[in-house]
Every structure is written in structure tokens, then in C-alpha cells.
């Protein structure tokens, strides 16, 4: 009885992920005593902020059985617009609107292709990825935007009742996301579309509108992440956002989202992001050159998927 309930507890995604985080932290502690210091843990969390926002959107997209690999491009383009407006000396209040609006517009482009054009999400976003990459190069004209004034600093440096404001953003967005999934018809529609699109359509769910919503919402979150990115680094390069799509998909899949759609686990996604960033940080501290980051993240994605598939098959459920 008790053994059974313990197994069920460990089987829960949040618990197994938290254990994985602790285990990884223990291993990295062995390689570098610096790893478990407050300073380094803060760095890991700070590095997670943008990815947390983007992965929230990706979780919604995966829930509709979609995928978006153009998010890096959206991040880059939004960041360029934000960078330019900072350079031009626009007031903070306007710039704060600009980032999310730019992101939302670009997200809606994906949504439009997928819903109205009925282009499969992988094709639409892969195509847009190419278009956006080219656009980033052309907009930047081969040079970086760098040495920006710290107009945006209050966005990331301030605190509300002692809580860093970035943590407030993340928690607020996740809370809204959770509320939508749990309590709003829209959330049910999103999950229904991913579970069985045809059945959802026949049951009268607004399939197109739900899909449009998830891509628009992801665009909004990516635009907001771009704002925080520019505020923190104060520069925009052609490589901005290059690996973000992979990291976000890995984090969401780690968190228990299935690429086949129909499920979302937001707490899992949060822990997934922390695990991804923790591993990336730990490997660097353990002396692995950062060039290996892609290899490690890509292999991690495959490993999780294979383990998931094995677990589900042993439970005689539908394969991944």
C-alpha cells in the first residue's frame, strides 16, 4: 500500500523532475564546489527567466499538437525593434508595449499560416524560421546593436515586496496560463484540439480560434521575453535566440507535454526549464566546452522521449 503510493508519487512528473534537478545538482557539486553557491543558483534562475516565458507558450502549442521552431526568430526580431526604440530614446512605457505587440503580430503570422493556410505547423514555422533568420541579418545589416542605455533596467532590477520583479512576471504569467487551462473554456478547447482535432471540431469546438490563440499568445510571451533580454544584456546580435526553440521544446517535453498534444503540465514545464538551465550551467562548470551545449540538449530531448515511450509502453498506454 505505502510502497504503491510512493511509486505513484515518484511517477508524478513534478516529483521526478525535482528529483532529477537535485540529483544533477549533487553530481555537479562533485565537479565544482562553486555550483551550489547562492550566487550560481541565482545565475541559473536568472538565466531561466526568458526561457520560462517562451516555454509556457510552447507548452500551449504542444497541447494543440502543434510545434513552433520559429520562436528564436521572433525573439530576435522583437529584440531588434526594442533595441532600436531604446536607441531612439523612446519612453519606457512605450517600449514596454512595443515588444509584446511585435511578438504577438509575428506569432499571429504563424497562426494565420497554420489555421487559414492549413500548413502543417512544422512546415510553417520552419519556413518562417528561414524568413526570420534572413530578416534579422538584413535588419541588423551585419552589425550588432550594442552599448544601449539602461532605459529598461527598472524592468529587471526592481523588486516588489522583496521579490525580484522578474519572478513576479513569471509567476503571474504561469498563474494566468494555469487558470486558462483549468477554468476557462478556451483552455479546454486547446486541450481538446490536441487530443483529437476531428472530434473537437465535430463537438463544436472552435478549432481554428484555439490554434490562433496559442500562436498569438506564444508570440506575446516571446515578445515580452525579448524585452527582458534587451533589458538584461543591452545588446542584440544576429545569433540572438538561436537555440531558444530547442531549449523551449526540450523543457516542455521534459515537463510532461507530449508532442502528440492533448496535455499540458505547467509546473512540469517550469521545472523542465530549470533542469535544462541547470544542466547547461553545470556542464560548463564541470569543464565541458560550451560548444557541447547543443549536443547535450539534443541528446537530452531524445533521452526523455525514449524513456517516456518506454514507461508508457510498459503501462500499456498509447505510445508517445
Amino acid at each position: 500500500m505505502s510502497g504503491n503510493s510512493i511509486r505513484r508519487l515518484i511517477g508524478r512528473r513534478e516529483v521526478s523532475l525535482a528529483l532529477a534537478c537535485l540529483g544533477a545538482a549533487g553530481i555537479f557539486r562533485g565537479f565544482s564546489p562553486y555550483f551550489l553557491t547562492a550566487a550560481n543558483l541565482t545565475t541559473i534562475l536568472q538565466n531561466s527567466v526568458e526561457l520560462l516565458l517562451i516555454s509556457l507558450g510552447i507548452s500551449f502549442i504542444l497541447a494543440t499538437a502543434g510545434i513552433d521552431i520559429a520562436v528564436g526568430g521572433v525573439l530576435g526580431i522583437s529584440a531588434i525593434f526594442i533595441g532600436w526604440s531604446v536607441e531612439a530614446g523612446w519612453p519606457l512605457s512605450t517600449i514596454v508595449l512595443l515588444g509584446p505587440v511585435a511578438g504577438t503580430c509575428l506569432g499571429m503570422v504563424s497562426g494565420f499560416m497554420i489555421v487559414v493556410g492549413k500548413v502543417p505547423p512544422i512546415i510553417a514555422t520552419l519556413g518562417l524560421f528561414g524568413v526570420y533568420r534572413a530578416a534579422i541579418f538584413l535588419l541588423l545589416g551585419g552589425s550588432w546593436i550594442s552599448g544601449l542605455p539602461n532605459t529598461l533596467a527598472p524592468l529587471v532590477n526592481s523588486a516588489i515586496f522583496g521579490v525580484p520583479v522578474v519572478a513576479v512576471y513569471v509567476l503571474a504569467f504561469y498563474l494566468v496560463g494555469w487558470l486558462i487551462l483549468r477554468w476557462f473554456p478556451l483552455g479546454t478547447a486547446v486541450l481538446a484540439v490536441g487530443g483529437n482535432e476531428r472530434a473537437a471540431q465535430l463537438a463544436g469546438v472552435a478549432v481554428g480560434r484555439s490554434k490562433f490563440f496559442v500562436y498569438g499568445m506564444t508570440g506575446f510571451l516571446v515578445g515580452f521575453a525579448a524585452l527582458l533580454y534587451v533589458a538584461r544584456y543591452r545588446n542584440v546580435e544576429t545569433s540572438t535566440g538561436e537555440n531558444v526553440a530547442l531549449d523551449a521544446i526540450v523543457a516542455a517535453v521534459l515537463g510532461g507535454s507530449s508532442v502528440l498534444g492533448g496535455q499540458a503540465n505547467l509546473i512540469g514545464t517550469m521545472l523542465g526549464v530549470v533542469l535544462v538551465r541547470l544542466l547547461q550551467n553545470g556542464f560548463v562548470l564541470a569543464g565541458v566546452p560550451s560548444l557541447w551545449e547543443q549536443v547535450i540538449t539534443g541528446s537530452l530531448l531524445l533521452l526523455v522521449l525514449i524513456l517516456d515511450a518506454a514507461v508508457k509502453r510498459s503501462a500499456r498506454l498509447k505510445p508517445v
Binding site: G117, Y132, R133, W292, G298, L302, L305
Partner: protein, 319 residues
Amino acid sequence: MTLMMAPPKKMRLAGLVALWIFALAFFAVRSPGFVSLANFSSILQFSTLLALVTFGQTLVILGGGGGVDLSVGGIVSLSGLSIAFGVKEGLDPYIASLSGIAFGGLLGLVNGLLVTKFRLLPLIATLGTFYAYNGLSVALTDGAPIAGLPTFFGTLGQGSVAGIPLHTVFIVLPAFLILEFVLWQTPVGRWIYGIGGNERACRLVGLPVDLIRLGIYVHSGVMAALAGLVADSWLLSARPNIGENLELLSLTAALLGGTSIFGGTGGLAGSLVAVLFFTSFQAGLQMLNVNAIWQLGLVGFFLIFSVLIDRFIRGGEST
């Protein structure tokens, strides 16, 4: 609908050829040097890499089940590096090349096993290997090319007969002819179309669906490795990023060539014309001094455009 008197497939190929000729005419008018033997051979020279990778990609898509191989570029880079490494270590060039090609097949086998054995969606499985393979080729070399291959190694990549590059004659054309023969005249080819068209029916009549798919992914890896070999020989060095963007390009060429993203319909002839169209386009833009990055954007646009066209041609047929 009355407009579609000819079968859609023929219409589509004719349309693509027309598009290609239009592009050729456009560049011929805009830049006088475009119509020349030298430019003709440089178009063929550039087309080999994309053509080989696209052949592999086309079969993967034809085989259905959401088939797509995003890792082709990584395989081109990795197997190219392995060949150059072997040659530099003093291995016989033929043995180094053959083992490099086998290595490409092995990388394809990994994709195939992930898809058939572990039942992962091809797009997510090959997205994982895309990052793993591309990352490996950069990480193993620190991003620096393996340069200084002996000049005799360049025969395949640099030699030509009457302006036609050797690799076009000895690799691309034979590969195309053999694959066309296999696709249209042998059971294996018919099976590939079959499992792409109706997987369930094929399983019910007892076809080894998983084995065929596994073979398709291995084949894609081998074709990518051949591309890596040609690149090595052409440049006399192996670059860790030589395969960059080839997944986007090959996917676009295959889809623009009329292969349906859902599998089962399409073929290599369209893919080949699409590849020639792309490379002519690339050469033309280069002559007009247009920034190469435009090409990436245009390809992305073509990718989406070709699926939209596909939908338009197939009309009301739903997925």
C-alpha cells in the same frame, strides 16, 4: 476544377519547369554573363549537394507516417569530417570514403530506430538528432575546418567532362536513375509509395512497414554522406558547418517538387527540377550581387508557398 484537365502531378511538374525557365530567362536578361558554359557548370557544381540530400529527403517524406529528416545537414557535416579525418590520418582515400559513407548510414540508422523502434514522431526525433549531429560536428572540431586534403582527392569534386562536373555524371545522375528505377519498377519502390499512402492497409497485407521505413532513413543518411564526400573533394577540406540549412533547403525542394508532406504521392523528378531551380536562383542572385542571406528568406517563403500550392491543386481533398 475544369482548369485541371491534365493530371495534377503532370501539371505540377510542368508548372515547376515553367517557373525554372522563367527564372533562367529573368537572370539571362538581367545579367549577361548568366548564359555561359562556365555558369552552367557552376550551377551543376552547386546543385550536387542539395540534389543528393533532397533525394534522401524525398524518400523519407514519401514513406509517410509524418516522415521528415531534419538531421540531413548534420549528417553531411559529420560524415564529411569523418572522411577528411580518415584521409588526414593516412587511410586509403577509398577506404576512408567508404567508411565515411557507412558512417552516414549509421547516423541515418539512429534516426530510423528512433522512429520505428521507439515510435517517436519523425519531426521531434530528427529535431533531436539535428541538434546532436550539428552540435557534434562543431564541438569535435572546435568549429575549425579540417583542411589540407591531398590534391588527388579533389578529382571527384573538381574534375569535369565537357563542362559537366564529374560528380554530376558519376554520382547524381546514376543515383537519380537507380532510385527512379527502384521507385517505379521494383516492389520495394511500390511498397514505399504504399506505406506512405495507406500504412494500415500495408500492415494488414503483411508488408514489413517498419523495416522499409528504417531502410529509408538509412538511405537518407547514405545520400547525405555522399554529399559530404563531394563537398570534401570539392573544397579539399571538411567544414563543420557545410550542411547548414540543408534540412530547410531539401525539405523545400522535395515539397516544391510535388511530394506531399503527408507521404504517398510525388517523386524524384519534381525534386530534381526543384533543386535545379534553387541552384539557378542561387547562382543568379550571386551574379546580381544580392546578399546570400536573402536566399534563406526566399527558401523559407517557398517552403510555405509550396504547401499552399499543394493544397490548392489537391482542392477539396482533406487530410
